[in-house]
Amino acid sequence: MSASVSVLLPPLAAGQVGDSALLERLPLMARDLLTAGLSEPWRWLANSLITIGAVIVIFASLFALLTLVERKVLGRVQNRPGPNRTGWGGILQPLADGIKMLTKEDIVPRSADRLLHFLAPVTLLALSVITFAVIPYGRHLVPVELDAAVLYFFAAGAATELAIFMAGWSSHNKYSLLAAMRALAQLISYELPLLLAFVPVIMLAGSLSTTAIVAAQGGWLWNFIPQWHVLTPPGFAGFVIFMVAALAESNRSPFDLPEAESELIAGHLTEYSGFKYALFFMAEYFGMCALSGMAVTLFLGGWQAPLPVLEFVPSYLWFAAKLLLVLLGFIWIRATFPRLRIDQLTRLAWKFLVPLALINLGTAAFWSLTHDWAGPMQLVRWGGVSLAPSSDVRRPRPGHQRGIAPRTYRYA
């Protein structure tokens, strides 16, 4: 067991091109240079703090950027430019928002539970931040290497539900409470498909460690097709299920029921003002980033380059590119879809995603047991996995309660 927060530079991997490797290790080298004069354990502490600080700063700026990008992309989709007057092209808009939030009065309702009301945003943000600890951002860039990294990630992620419920409960507001109940129901419903969706990945990779999972996706098929999990049938199904569940876990449209403004005002955030509200907002985006990061790690090959010729680009840039792509997908979906209803939401989770994930589990078992089949057997193998979803004979539909279908109309 070794933490990558090691003092010494990791040795150069064999067969690596020199300058690319230099770029790869640049962040680590910079850090080590800074703390070179310190002695253990202070050096470890300093190194760790720098790592943590870098992660938080990078994701905080990503959060700022993301709010702007989201507003810009939404604007573009809706035929308007979006914020473009604050700073060049609106680039300073998040800063202005931040300053405003920081200087806004903080109201705590009289009847609220003051302690919980204060703790909820802090807890939520802390919990969403610590999920960043196990994501491998680059070849050598993982804050901490854990054997059970995936488990840790989802444990920390699942604890955010508590914070959301705290927020809703402590506000002492009907909408907040209703929203908190919804949030809890939604989060626990989707925790299950989320977990089940990546079990196939673990089966394929044979490890719970995120670095090992990324490493398992390295290499090329016929020298140009990456061996990412998403490109295997069970991995692809897992990816889709994972993304749906991730949308729900991060309270994004079309699953943004807890803060459905057409129904519940601002949901569990109704009574939050000033910077506490900003913290919630930040935590939500952090959660989204973390889940996207995990999706990239588990399914999209982590920091691996998509083509062998592109390997000269440092791995962390590939990770960033993939992360942004996934996040853009989140925004795109938000710009398009209406919201589900709570019962449809839970039904989708329990009656569609969970069975599908279970079937996918079987498919993955079949796929991974038959990985050495070749020739015509390969056809059998592909046929087997593509038939697997049809074993779900219920003709699954998200709202299949009473025949949802397009209709034709008559004229008088």
Partner: protein, 123 residues
């Protein structure tokens, strides 16, 4: 040489808690020096669409709600048991295989049972 990774995690958690606290204290400082908050009874009323709040909002949950939570707990734990199985998937003996199959079958059966009973419907 380097401490246990859990020490790093502990440090990470500590920083993660301190981070929002720092931000909040900056906001607090602002109010301290520039714009003292003006709490007042009406301002601190619970928001209820602009009308005076009525009734207690800490209502009782339906019993169904707890059932739902328990169901989640059961399934979640079961799925967690799946993980070690998945890790060691390729090197399993036949006996372990059968055991796991039974386990997954139980999981599926539990789901079907809850489905039939209608516990999966959100009310």
């Amino acid at each position: 040489m380097s401490p246990h990774p859990h020490a790093f995690l502990a440090l990470f958690l500590a920083v993660a808690v301190v981070f929002p606290l720092i931000l909040l204290s900056v906001a607090r400082l602002w109010f301290r020096f520039f714009q003292p908050a003006k709490p007042s009874p009406l301002k601190q009323d619970t928001y209820e669409c602009g009308v005076a709040p009525t009734g207690d909002s800490w209502i009782q949950f339906k019993a169904h709600y707890y059932l739902y939570a328990i169901m989640f707990l059961i399934f979640d734990v079961e799925v967690l048991f799946l993980l070690p199985f998945a890790v060691a998937f390729t090197g399993l003996s036949v006996g372990a295989w059968v055991a796991m199959l039974v386990f997954v079958f139980l999981l599926a059966e539990g789901l079907i049972w809850a489905w039939q009973r209608g516990h999966l419907e959100w009310k």
